[in-house]
Amino acid sequence: MESAGTEGRRTLSESETHAPESGHSVNPGASTSAFAGETAPLLRRFRTDLHVHSVLSPCAELEMGAPEIIQRASREEITLLALTDHNAVANVPALMEAAEVERERLRVSGTDDGSIPRILCGVEVQTEEDIHLVALFRSAEDGFAFQEWLWEALPSRANDPDIFGYQLIIDGKNAVLDQVATLLVQGVSRSVEEVIAEIRHRGGLSFLAHVDRPGFSYVEVLGPVPEDLAVDAVELSRRLSAEEALAWRSRLGARTILRSSDAHRLEDLRREHCMELLLAEPTFDEVALALRNEAGRRVLWPWEETPP
């Protein structure tokens, strides 16, 4: 359990000391197996935000540029971040590039302390029923292939930037490469079940977004989440108190519960709006294990109050 400390990551080494005892496994039955074997990898806490918007989302502020998101996340000690614009992955390369540039800058100056977040490719899909569902993919290529599938089902209504805001595709330095002409904040003509199946078929992960909110929530639109719905997790919004979150937890049964910022502006991108994951490294495959509560990887209960 020493590696985090020897790498000089202050936050991580602090967290790691407490990892096996504190926090909460959503499914405690399978939580510690990785600690048993001799070759088990060392697990550390990674502050993770799996739901963030950029200037590609018309409802996001124009301050949500690539370097700005990276710098803000770094300041908030968020070490793993998924970019999840509405119905689109097109700014994922920009964010990856901005992270790489910043990491290189720190490396050159000898101050790379691992604080620049790793970026995951994601998208917040709006289904036919106006339900928001976040998909995560192993690579940007997988994400773009999914976006192609999604856009075939996106109604052709044009975006009016005066009403909805701009939909900008940028590079890592915020240069505007293009604008998406079709309005992205519409339901695609695919049911929530179809979208979930497609994400899984493509090797991605999915979670229902902000089910506690009055808008675009599975629970609001379709009622209680059925046990056989093939999502990997359910997100509760950062607006819930610890007590409310516990009440939702008991409603949702054995599901893995996430909390992420759903940031549309920089000031919403905060450490206390997201969560910690227990992982060997900040990668898609490790997140997949954590969401399934496998091999010791898990999502720590995001609210201060630990469930009984």
Binding site: E129, S191, V219, E220, V221, L222, G223
Partner: protein, 111 residues
């Protein structure tokens, strides 16, 4: 009015007649299931554009004997199957939900 008379008045395509002799006096319109679950009056039919299986579940829960699927929307097979099993009448309408409500208001149904 009975469900059979109402569906006939609307000129709906009847996908399932259910308990066609049952009288209904009120109506509710909406696509958010939690809203309908919380506010549906007694003895009401339900106008929605939402043909998901869970619509049938909410109808059963609130004792709603008739669902009118407006806006030319296609019901999912699971929804129709469940409505047949539960004896819920299903009328399919090309008219928008607004127009369906207007036609029902004309014959005396209220919210």
């Amino acid at each position: 009015m009975t469900i059979g008379e109402i569906l006939s008045h609307l000129g709906a395509d009847v996908a399932n007649i259910g308990d066609g002799e049952r009288e209904v006096t009120r109506g509710i319109v909406g696509d958010l299931l939690s809203h309908v679950m919380g506010t549906a009056p007694e003895n009401a039919l339900w106008i929605t554009i939402h043909g998901h299986l869970n619509v049938a579940a909410v109808a059963v829960l609130r004792d709603i004997p008739c669902v009118i699927l407006a806006g030319g929307r296609t019901p999912s097979p699971e929804f129709l199957e469940r409505c047949c099993t539960e004896g819920i009448a299903v009328g399919l309408m090309k008219d928008a939900a607004f127009d369906v409500c207007g036609k029902l208001w004309e014959i005396g149904l209220r919210g």
